[in-house]
C-alpha cells in the first residue's frame, strides 16, 4: 500500500512549520492539505493499519463514504484557513492550526474507540494554543476554561470506551445507540455525553461562545471548522436515529438565535449561530433516515465553508480595525467593498438563499422532518431558519459594513485573506448551484433528493424576504434593539460567577471561622496567664505559686522527718 496514513501529511506539515521560516514554511503549509487530499483519493473503502493492542484489535484507519466525506472537507477547510493565515508571523498559530486539522482527520478515520479517544484529546490540546495565541488575559482565562471542558469530554469518552471494552470485548467504533443492558447502558451514555460536550449541547455550549471569539482572527477559522464537526461525524456514526437527538437538536437550533440578536461582539454572534447550525445537523442525525442523515452531513460540509467565510470576513474587520463590537463598527463598505460583498455571499449561504450552499442541505433536513411527522420540530426549525437570516444574514453585514457610519476608514485586508475568502465564497455558490456534482456526490447514503423545484424556491424566498421585511419594519420604527457594549449572561455564569463566588464565600467563611477560633484560644491563654500572674508585684498568683521563705521549708522537712520517725516507731511496736 503506497498511501500515507490520512492524518500524516498535515501532521508532517505542522512539524515542518515548526522548523521552517518564510517562504519555505508557506509552501509546505499550502502543500500539506493538498497532498493530504490527493492522498485520500488513493484510498479504497476498507480497514488499514490494523493492529493488536493488549488483546484488542485496533483499526487506525477505516475508510468508508462517511469518513471520506469529512476527510475531504477537513482538507479543504485546512487549505482555506492556511491561506487566510499566511500573512501571520506566529509559529504557534501555524503549527497548532495544522496539527489541529491533522487531529480532526485522524479522528474521522479512526476505526476504533481508542484511536478516536487519542485524536479526541489531541483536538483539545492542539486547538487551545490557537486561543492562547491572542496573548491577552481574557484569551488565556478563556483558553483554560476551554481546555478543562474539552478534556472532561475526553475523560467521559475514555470511561465509556473502557466499559465497552469490558462488556463487548471489542473497541471497534460503529453504531452504539442508547439501548443497552446493565453497565453497557452507562457506557453508552458516557460516550453520548462526551460527544454532546464537543458538539455544544445546551447547557454545555458555552465553551464555544466563550473561547472562539477570544482567539486570533485566523485562529477562529481553524476552530470553527473542526471540533464540532468531528462531534457531528461521531454522532452520525454512533447514534444515528436516536430520537432524543431530535429534541436536543431543535433546542440548539432555537435558543442561540435569541442570544445572537442581543450580542454585541460580532464573532460571538457567529459562535451562537454555529450552535444553531449544529442544531440542524443534530436533528437530522436524530431523525436517522437516509435523507435526514445525508442532510446532516451535507449541512456540516456546507457549514464549514460558509461559517468559515463569515468568520473570515469578521476576522478581516478585526484585523484591519482592531474592533469587532457592533456598537463600534458601521459604514465599512466604503473602505472594504470587497470584504463586504464576500460577507454578503456568506450571509446568503448561511441563510439558505436559493443558489447558495445552505439551501441545498438545510432543505434536506426540513424535508426529512416533515416526512417523518415531526410537525412541531419542523415548525421550530422553520423559525430557526428565519432567525438565522435575521441575525447572521442581516445583522452581521448590516452592523459591520452599513448601519450608521462609525467614521472608521481603513483598507481591504491583506491579499491572502481576500484570496481565502474568495475561494470560500466561490465554493458556497458552486455547492449551492451545482449540488449534484459536488456535495451530493459525496453523500454516504442512497438518496434521490432534488432541492430545486418551484415550491422549495418560492416558499424559501417568501420566508426570507418577509424575515427581512420584519427587520426593515423594526428598524424604521426604532424597535430593533441597538448594539450596546455589554455582556449577556448565559450558562457560563454558573461557573464564571456563581461557583467562584460560592467558593470565595466558603473560603472567606472558613478562614474567618479559623481566625476567630485562633483569637479565642489566644485570648483565653492570655486570660489564664493574667489571672495567674500579678503584673504589679511581678509575682504569680495562687497559693502554691507563692514564694515561700526557706525557714518554712526547714520546718516542713523537720515535720516530715518527725512524722517518719513516729511511723517507724509505731510499726516497730506492732
Amino acid at each position: 500500500m503506497s498511501n500515507m496514513i490520512p492524518f500524516l501529511p498535515l501532521m508532517l506539515g505542522a512539524l515542518a512549520a515548526l522548523f521552517l521560516r518564510g517562504w519555505a514554511r508557506n509552501i509546505i503549509m499550502l502543500a500539506a492539505p493538498i497532498v493530504g487530499a490527493l492522498n485520500l483519493m488513493g484510498f479504497e473503502h476498507g480497514v488499514f493499519w490494523a493492529m493488536e493492542f493488549m488483546g484488542y484489535s485496533l483499526e487506525l484507519v477505516k475508510v468508508d463514504k462517511l469518513s471520506l466525506m469529512f476527510g475531504y472537507l477537513f482538507h479543504l477547510a485546512a487549505l482555506i484557513a492556511v491561506i487566510y493565515a499566511l500573512h501571520v508571523k506566529d509559529t504557534v498559530q501555524h503549527v497548532a492550526g495544522l496539527a489541529y486539522a491533522s487531529s480532526a482527520v485522524g479522528a474521522v478515520f479512526a476505526g476504533d474507540l481508542l484511536t478516536l479517544f487519542v485524536f479526541w484529546e489531541l483536538l483539545a490540546l492542539t486547538s487551545v494554543f490557537l486561543i492562547w495565541a491572542r496573548r491577552t488575559d481574557r484569551a488565556y482565562a478563556s483558553g483554560l476554561r476551554y481546555l478543562i471542558i474539552q478534556v472532561l469530554s475526553g475523560v467521559l469518552l475514555l470511561a465509556g470506551l473502557l466499559i465497552f471494552a469490558k462488556v463487548n470485548n471489542s473497541l471497534l467504533f460503529s453504531h452504539i445507540g442508547l439501548d443497552h443492558d446493565g453497565i453497557a447502558q452507562i457506557g453508552a451514555w458516557l460516550i453520548f455525553a462526551a460527544f454532546g460536550i464537543k458538539s455544544a449541547f445546551p447547557f454545555v455550549h458555552n465553551w464555544l461562545t466563550d473561547s472562539y471569539p477570544e482567539s486570533t482572527p485566523s485562529g477562529t477559522i481553524f476552530l470553527a471548522s473542526f471540533t464540532t464537526k468531528v462531534a457531528v461525524y461521531a454522532f452520525a456514526r454512533a447514534f444515528a436515529g436516536e430520537e432524543i437527538l431530535v429534541w436536543i437538536g431543535v433546542t440548539m437550533a432555537c435558543f442561540p438565535i435569541f442570544f445572537a440578536v442581543i450580542e454585541n461582539d460580532l464573532r460571538r454572534v457567529l459562535a451562537y449561530s454555529l450552535i444553531n447550525q449544529i442544531g440542524f445537523m443534530i436533528v437530522g442525525i436524530g431523525i436517522g433516515t437516509s435523507l435526514a442523515l445525508n442532510g446532516a452531513v451535507a449541512h456540516a460540509f456546507n457549514d464549514v465553508i460558509f461559517k468559515g467565510l463569515l468568520m473570515m470576513t469578521m476576522g478581516a474587520v478585526l484585523h484591519m480595525t482592531g474592533k469587532i463590537n457592533g456598537s463600534e463598527l458601521g459604514g465599512l463598505y466604503k473602505s472594504m467593498p470587497k470584504t463586504t460583498i464576500l460577507c454578503i455571499v456568506g450571509a446568503a449561504s448561511i441563510s439558505a438563499f436559493p443558489l447558495f450552499s445552505g439551501f441545498v442541505s438545510k432543505s434536506m433536513i426540513m424535508a426529512a422532518a416533515v416526512k417523518e411527522g415531526y410537525d412541531y420540530v419542523w415548525l421550530l426549525l422553520l423559525f430557526a431558519a428565519a432567525g438565522v437570516f435575521h441575525h447572521a444574514g442581516i445583522k452581521i453585514p448590516y452592523f459591520a459594513f452599513f448601519a450608521h457610519d462609525s467614521g472608521i476608514r481603513t483598507t481591504e485586508p491583506p491579499k491572502n485573506m481576500l484570496i481565502a475568502m474568495t475561494i470560500a465564497a466561490i465554493a458556497c455558490v458552486v455547492l449551492g448551484s451545482f449540488p449534484a456534482q459536488t456535495v451530493y456526490a459525496l453523500l454516504p447514503w442512497e438518496h434521490d433528493y432534488q432541492p430545486y423545484d418551484v415550491t422549495h424556491v418560492l416558499t424559501q424566498l417568501q420566508l426570507l424576504f418577509f424575515s427581512a421585511l420584519a427587520f426593515v419594519w423594526l428598524n424604521q420604527r426604532n424597535l430593533y434593539p441597538p448594539e450596546l457594549p455589554s455582556t449577556n449572561l448565559d450558562v457560563d455564569w454558573f461557573y464564571r460567577k456563581l461557583a467562584p463566588n460560592i467558593v470565595k464565600k466558603v473560603a472567606c467563611k472558613t478562614y474567618g471561622a479559623y481566625e476567630k477560633l485562633e483569637n479565642t484560644v489566644v485570648i483565653s491563654i492570655k486570660h489564664m496567664l493574667q489571672s495567674s500572674y500579678d503584673e504589679e508585684s511581678g509575682k504569680p498568683k495562687g497559693y502554691f505559686a507563692k514564694l515561700w521563705p526557706i525557714e518554712t521549708m526547714v520546718v516542713w522537712v523537720a515535720g516530715l522527718l518527725a512524722a517518719y520517725l513516729m511511723l517507724y516507731y509505731i510499726i516497730g511496736l506492732l
Binding site: 415548525l379 428565519a386 423545484d453 418551484v454 418560492l458 449577556n488
Partner: protein
C-alpha cells in the same frame, strides 16, 4: 472621523435607500401574489394557509426580536462584568 469633504456614497443618500426599499417592498408583494398563482406542493396541512411562509417569517422574526429585547432586561451586564 469621517472627512467632511468626502464624496457622499451610495448609501449616504436617503433617496437611494428609499428607492432600494421600494424595490424590496415590490418583491415582497410579488412573492405573495406568486403564492396564489403558482401551484406549490403541500407537504403539511399548515402550508394550505395562504402565504403561510411569508406570515410565519414576519411574525417569527418580530417575535424573536421582541423576546430577545425582553431578555436584555435580565441578562445584560456591563462589558467588563467577568473581568472584575
Amino acid at each position: 472621523m469621517a472627512d467632511q469633504h468626502e464624496p457622499r456614497d451610495f448609501f449616504d443618500k436617503p433617496e437611494n435607500i428609499e428607492k432600494m426599499l421600494k424595490v424590496f417592498y415590490v418583491i415582497c408583494g410579488l412573492l405573495v401574489v406568486a403564492d396564489f398563482i403558482v401551484h406549490r406542493h403541500i407537504y403539511h396541512d399548515w402550508e394550505n394557509i395562504p402565504a403561510f411562509y411569508a406570515i410565519y417569517g414576519f411574525v417569527g422574526c418580530s417575535l424573536l426580536v421582541f423576546v430577545a429585547k425582553w431578555m436584555r432586561t435580565f441578562l445584560m451586564r456591563k462589558e467588563d462584568y467577568y473581568d472584575e
